[in-house]
Amino acid sequence: MTTTVDQRSALALGPVRRFSAFLYRRPKVRLAVLLSAPMLWLGVLYLGSLFMLLISAFWTTDTFTGDLVRTFTFANFSEVLTSPVYRAITVRTVGVALAVTLICVVLAVPMSLYMAKIASPRMQRLLVVAILMPLWANYLVKAYAWRGMFANGGVLEWLHLPNPGYGLPATIIVLSYLWLPYMILPVYAGLERLPNSLIEASSDLGAGAGRTIRSIVIPILMPSIIAGTIFTFSLSLGDYIAVQLVGSKTQLIGNAIFANIGAANNLPLAAALATIPIVIILIYLTLVRRTGALEEL
């Protein structure tokens, strides 16, 4: 490698070399150069967009022309907070997000336990790949796949399984399906780090498998489980496409936002509605922050 370094350019003080020396002497300038473009993108473009969205929540639209009226008003927020329709949608959405999170935990913990502590090393590698693969499969395709499962005369009926049909239960099943790998991966990683000696010590002291899992495994695993719930919970809060595909007439916050920005052409109301998931997610993140879950992401 050393032979490929251009010796001449290292000796001659060309402009590049002088600029490089200038940078070397001033770490703050180096830092500023490194941060400039990313901060323009994320700090100005992205945060600026979010800020504009927030501002537009305080505007209204002209009922006749549909144009934006840029006068300050709390009307959208008071509609979002007082309308029984939006309150029902918010409660339903949070309920769905909680149900999805619970289902994912219940499925992910035993599966990860098998992967991390029972499967042979070779099997373990294969299973990790098997869990990762669906993460790469297209989100829309995965939701679409379930239409054939729930359809009348579809796969569930063919398998003699109970078929809930399109609707709220189907929405919860599909969202759990979509986010399950996001729960398995952190839980599995947490279990892999858990030393076997702790588990052996527990059983040496007379605890059965159930007691060991309850008193040793789950408490140590808690930050990893919570890290997974951040994904399952916040991804469920904003979803509207899976709901459109299998939810029949089910409405979640995402659908209400989508309807207001699309068909109703009411950006200010959509913006006000969008603050609901943002606020819920920020509250959730603050609540789980103390558990150390954010470091597990």
Binding site: L50, V155, L245
Partner: protein
């Protein structure tokens, strides 16, 4: 782990049922794409590869695939540059506001896609359009890059934590300039992390639909948008099935590639 044989068997059965839950719907999509019937039915009526031919000839599908590839490449390149810059800044320097910046990087994937989508949509309408940048492929690339930065950032910063800054100082002490040090010391150490980050960023972009919905121009259709447009058109159902099956099958490629990258022996051979 000391478990009774019964609970071992129980867990194994649970694992098998879990895997079936994950894979049966994907298998149904792939099998349906070979169904002779134009409408979905289970079990399929018969086997044919006719629809794969029809889909391959479909101009809408071809254009959408090209758009998806272009958007993915554009977003990946931008995310690679910006993600590497932030990781170098956050890992090699300590300064006021560092935590705020690392939070800002995560924000685009922590917030629901629809929030990021309508925020960018508002910004494009009110700021970009008066400047002459209207909804099109470029706005899709801008949207995708925003949430792709974080995956490059995560990969690169994890690598930088393991590669000591002493190597860079040694290089400078030996007379290399800032740029030579980056080219011959920092960059080779980051290379496989960059490949992994690029793969993830491309995958994320190729898969995305929500932000795309709100940033794409009328004529710009990525593959997910094409599926979404044609989902409820009965006469397009067989082609939609083929595109869906195609996307399930190509998702094996990044997994295969990342396994190659992850196994140490192969990495040594392939990425010297």
């Amino acid at each position: 782990m000391n478990l009774s044989p019964a609970s071992r068997i129980g867990l194994r059965i649970f694992m098998i049922v879990g895997l079936a839950f994950i894979y049966v719907p994907l298998l149904v999509v792939v099998i349906s794409s070979f169904n002779t019937s134009k409408i979905f039915g289970w079990p399929p009526d018969g086997f044919t590869t006719k629809w794969w031919g029809v889909a391959a000839e479909n101009q809408g599908v071809r254009d959408a695939l090209a758009t998806s590839l272009k958007a993915g490449l554009g977003a990946t390149v931008i995310a690679l540059v910006l993600g590497t810059m932030i990781s170098l800044a956050l890992q090699r320097y300590s300064f006021f506001g560092r935590d705020a910046i690392s939070f800002l990087v995560i924000l685009p994937i922590a917030l629901p896609g629809i929030v990021t989508g309508i925020a960018l949509n508002t910004a494009i309408r009110t700021v970009f359009e008066p400047l002459g940048i209207s909804f099109g492929l470029l706005t899709v690339v801008i949207g995708h890059s925003t949430f792709c930065i974080v995956v490059v950032f995560n990969n690169v910063i994890a690598r930088l934590r393991r590669v000591s800054g002493n190597l860079e100082e040694a290089s400078m002490d030996l007379g290399a300039s800032t740029f030579q040090t980056f080219r011959f010391v920092t960059f080779p150490a980051m290379r496989s992390a960059l490949v992994a980050g690029a793969l993830l960023a491309f995958g994320l972009s190729f898969d995305e639909i929500v932000v795309t919905t709100f940033t794409a121009g009328p004529g710009v259709r990525t593959l997910p948008l094409w599926i979404y447009d044609n989902l409820f058109r009965p006469n397009q159902a067989p082609v939609v099935n083929v595109v869906a099956a195609f996307l399930v099958i190509v998702s094996i490629i990044p997994i295969w590639a990342s396994q190659r990258l992850a196994s140490p022996k192969d990495t040594a051979a392939r990425l010297p």
